[in-house]
Symmetry: none
Subunit: 259 residues, 2 copies
Amino acid sequence: MEYTVQKLAKMAGISSRTLRYYDEIGMLNPARINSSGYRIYRQKEVDRLQQILFYRELGVTLEEIRAIITGPAFSAAGALRQHREKLLAKREQLDMLIVNVEKTIAAEEGRIKMTDKEKFEGFKQKMIDDNEKKYGEEIREKYGNEQVDRSNQKVKNMTQEQYAQVEKLGEEVLTTLEQAFATGDPAGELAQKAADLHRQWLCFFWGSYTKEAHAGVAQMYVDDERFTAYYDRKQPGTAAFLRDAVFIYTGMADKDNAG
Amino acid sequence: MEYTVQKLAKMAGISSRTLRYYDEIGMLNPARINSSGYRIYRQKEVDRLQQILFYRELGVTLEEIRAIITGPAFSAAGALRQHREKLLAKREQLDMLIVNVEKTIAAEEGRIKMTDKEKFEGFKQKMIDDNEKKYGEEIREKYGNEQVDRSNQKVKNMTQEQYAQVEKLGEEVLTTLEQAFATGDPAGELAQKAADLHRQWLCFFWGSYTKEAHAGVAQMYVDDERFTAYYDRKQPGTAAFLRDAVFIYTGMADKDNAG
DNA sequence: ATTGACATTGACGTTGCGTAAAGGTTTATA
DNA sequence: TATAAACCTTTACGCAACGTCAATGTCAAT
């Protein structure tokens, strides 16, 4: 199979400009150039492009990518496993960023307070973190686990702080739910607020929110007696009430949820 | 207290060039300029810089930061939410990539074959989304309804005795997961069996099964340390392994996977 | 023959600064 | 008091990794 720039670009989800750029800097030269000057790519180039895009997704610079894939020690199978590890690490880093944003949103909404001093201290710590991540491998080899322990503790602290916040949100869900239950209307304002708080609470645990998952969990509260006991401890029927409210909140109530 | 560029820069842990740049683009103008043309910053500017750096740490672009801090004070939360959405989208794409790496490793080992198209899955979100939605619905109709019917019957007929059976199923999940974890391959046969058992277990609680909900719960096992502790009690990393297996199982990031 | 979708090579724009160059000002010390 | 070190200024080019014109050539179909 032979590909022109556009065809390969569309397949790879990149622009044709990128392919020309890669040709220009010698990252990926086409297999041949036809009589009209068109770039023609073949299987070998497709595979190589895939490799390039893999590393690019990791944030590796093109120069480093070139060093990796043109290097003599390059073994596809081994590199892929390293790849995977890096991807997972990057996802963790992303998760931390998301947590930070969540936290800031909470602060903006006045749920927690942060002084300027605290913020400023946070920057310095974060910069240390960044440095550790950048040169983490070197540091680990040179200085052992000292740095790693420090950063681990930091992560733990952050999680702990986050955790306290989550529990606070959880309590807020309960109190709002209690008031809402008194109204008896799962479509009412209070019940919908409770459902929204519950969504926020879930978002602390879930990377991505979907209505289906939310409704699913609400249903589980009714079906699993351990959860039911938790929500019904003050007023029997609260779990079912929350489920009804969430079903309305997610717009799943009118759909065929019975089967 | 008045600060020159260098003093403020050192305090904030940035370069003086950055301060001049922020002045240049109007992000942060000094309080005044003295007789020699030096930039002089005061408390107000220090506070503003801290705000800027705070958002910068979250990965927000300078333009967006400007919009946040120069706009009405209450729009910050909204902007942060948008930013969070971006981060979440990025995270989803990362998950797709991870799945792709898994498949590529499998392909390298000759377990499955990958077409050129498949090799680029995870790099392009839009086209994948379209394809996934097209084929996803078919699969859900075929595969989903079957499972839903089965679980519905089970849930309806669920007695106290069968509740014990659920716990037995839960144990089965754990033992299978333990064996699968030893293989290290979340796309492997054992891991996929564990994911399937986990789905069955969930179906005892949920009236309807969706891959989104399944994946969401799996993610929660990683994010909530109570669940993580439960799954990691024998082997650290088991919760994450289950999550990875379920993500592959549900095809959340990829349209077709035979495992 | 014409249209429209493709291809080509320049060449300048983008972000968030780094890094001189070429000079003026302040401060510390000899 | 002279001088060096350490600050400050503006101007301006450089970087990655392409995006986005512009001007022009090629291919398939009508």
